[in-house]
Assembly symmetry: C2
Homo-oligomer: 344 residues x 2
């Protein structure tokens, strides 16, 4: 992949993050609370069922970006909260995300996640179905600790939307006629809703800040869409070593993402057929990954998608104008930049 | 199977149900509310996702005994409740039960349930994993309608226990050295907890009846254990036509149930090996179903298990002595008899 126009981070060629800021500095604001979240995650993966103990430890050691917990904790700080409650919810959204990934990896027959064997690969599908169920239910049980019904409502709504998004995606798997509209409906449900819930749940912590719900929901939703578009781009631009999973894996799984959706109406029937081949074969048999990458390069749709991702990032930042300036607001303003710059 | 000592209903040879009572009369007490529950179930299976619509209709038409809703509604009546709230929870426990069955059928590779193709057989494992997730989350969302946190807590606790029970069962699948203690720990989690939750949740409906929680929980748990023992017996005694699934299917799936667990310490190594063959082959290749049935008959362990099921039924009934006599108490007293007599 070296020499590929996107082998530098997605956004870095357009604009550097604001001077003097780094992921480290942004996360420092909620560093103690992120560490506390990690403790809560580990502690709630303990069980008298041997498999939960083993798989729980494996998952806790697998890392992850903890993006949803960090956003939730920053939003809580933005609203002036400082309690155990936001730490609980930070762990809860990470658990819900984890449960979803676990089930998605079964469905996608994925063998690798974050450079390690997936749970399904290691323990088989049956135990993995149950582990996802258990972690999701555990998340709900944890969230109940603070007697805040509205939070549970938001979490169940987000989970319903995520499950529906995954179903819609699965029903259209391998279809070359997926529309851009359908694509956005899928990523909105699959990704953006949970980001939106993570960012707006702090408004429900008492003393409640109902006035912050709309801007924080908009922020989360736009950032979630941005995150997903970057995810789609990375499948074209990152190397396997960076991503922990094979490149062009979406297409090989039968999933058309935005760079190809924008490309298809513009190419010749013969070129279109190359994409169709991969969707049918679920492998590069009748074409090569390089041929698909060259096609995408020739039409420049990666740059278009990057442009759209940047527009979502701007939309997210703009939603924050509602709040007075603060360290938390600055951190949330910088977050989209890191999403655009992420390599994995 | 004709001529088999258990080809008559499990309990009918010992004792007839109290004169003048029938399932019909028992259910009549809560007939309107069961009908309302059915409406709620159907209405909440509607969705803008085509697959949920299709599979939801299929599930709603598949029937089911609605035992947990009926128990919940009878317990609510026992406590003097008469509101929409118990109807919601009746639908919720049936949804949780359904979600669990859907995931269990994936795990057990089951093709048939209630005489019809399973969801996994019809729509494949991937969509079925998601349907189970969706129905469970929907159940939680429905339960939230009455702002009763303690109910949600009970439901999540029961779901965690059910998932753990299924994991424990799966981890010991095919093991001939499963202990009777492990067996009871599994069925307690897999079956009895949700019965217990269904029977005791009405204590949390306002005006709350905390004093009823212990007897109703005991009732539900004993009845759940009774139900599961009868389920295990039916796998030996019912015909495929009655049960909607093949006979001795538990053993063929690698699951040792109580009739065999009691038998194994008493038989010769050679006889023990016959059971081992089926656990290994997951089929009747090196022995026949009839050979296993004859072995069980010769040691009389079906009658022992039936005796234990009856003891649980008695325990359930005794827990009701806490409550003053009423039509609902009479109905709950008779319920164990129907559990003992059920043929499918």
């Amino acid at each position: 992949m070296s020499g590929h126009p996107f082998s530098t981070p997605v956004a870095s060629r357009l604009e550097e993050p604001p001077a003097g800021t780094s992921v480290h500095q942004v996360l420092e604001l909620v560093g103690d609370k992120l560490a506390a979240t990690e403790q809560v995650l580990r502690c709630h993966l303990e069980s008298d069922v041997p498999f939960i103990e083993d798989a729980g430890r494996y998952l806790a050691d697998s890392g992850g970006k903890r993006m949803r917990p960090a956003l939730l904790l920053l939003a809580a700080r933005l609203l002036g909260h400082d309690s155990e409650e936001e730490v609980t919810y930070a762990a809860v959204v990470e658990f819900i995300h984890t449960a979803t990934l676990i089930h998605d990896d079964i469905i996608d027959h994925s063998d690798l996640r974050r450079g390690r064997e997936t749970v399904n690969r290691r323990w088989g599908n049956s135990l993995t179905v149950l582990l996802g169920d258990w972690i999701y239910t555990k998340a709900m049980r944890m969230a109940l600790a603070h007697d805040n019904l509205e939070v549970i409502r938001q979490l169940t709504n987000a989970t319903l939307r995520m499950t529906e998004g995954e179903m819609l995606s699965l029903e259209r798997l391998g279809s070359i006629d997926l529309s851009v509209e359908e694509y956005f409906s899928i990523i909105d449900r699959k990704t953006a809703y949970l980001f939106s819930a993570a960012c707006s749940i702090p408004c429900l912590i008492r003393p409640a800040h109902p006035e912050g719900a709309i801007p924080l929901r908009s922020y989360g939703r736009a950032l979630g869409n941005c995150f997903q578009l970057v995810d789609d781009l990375l499948d074209f631009t990152a190397s396997q070593g960076e991503l922990g999973k094979p490149v062009l894996s979406d297409l090989k799984e039968g999933k058309l993402t935005l760079p190809l959706l924008l490309l298809l109406p513009r190419v010749t029937p013969k070129q279109r057929q190359l994409v169709q081949f991969v969707l049918e074969d679920r492998a590069f048999e009748r074409t090569t990954a390089q041929e698909i990458l060259d096609l995408v390069d020739s039409e420049g749709t990666l740059a278009e998608v990057e442009h759209m991702a940047r527009a979502f990032a701007d939309e997210a930042r703009e939603a924050l104008a509602f709040f007075p300036p603060s360290d938390a607001r600055s951190a949330l303003e910088i977050a989209p930049e890191f999403v655009l710059n992420r390599r994995s």
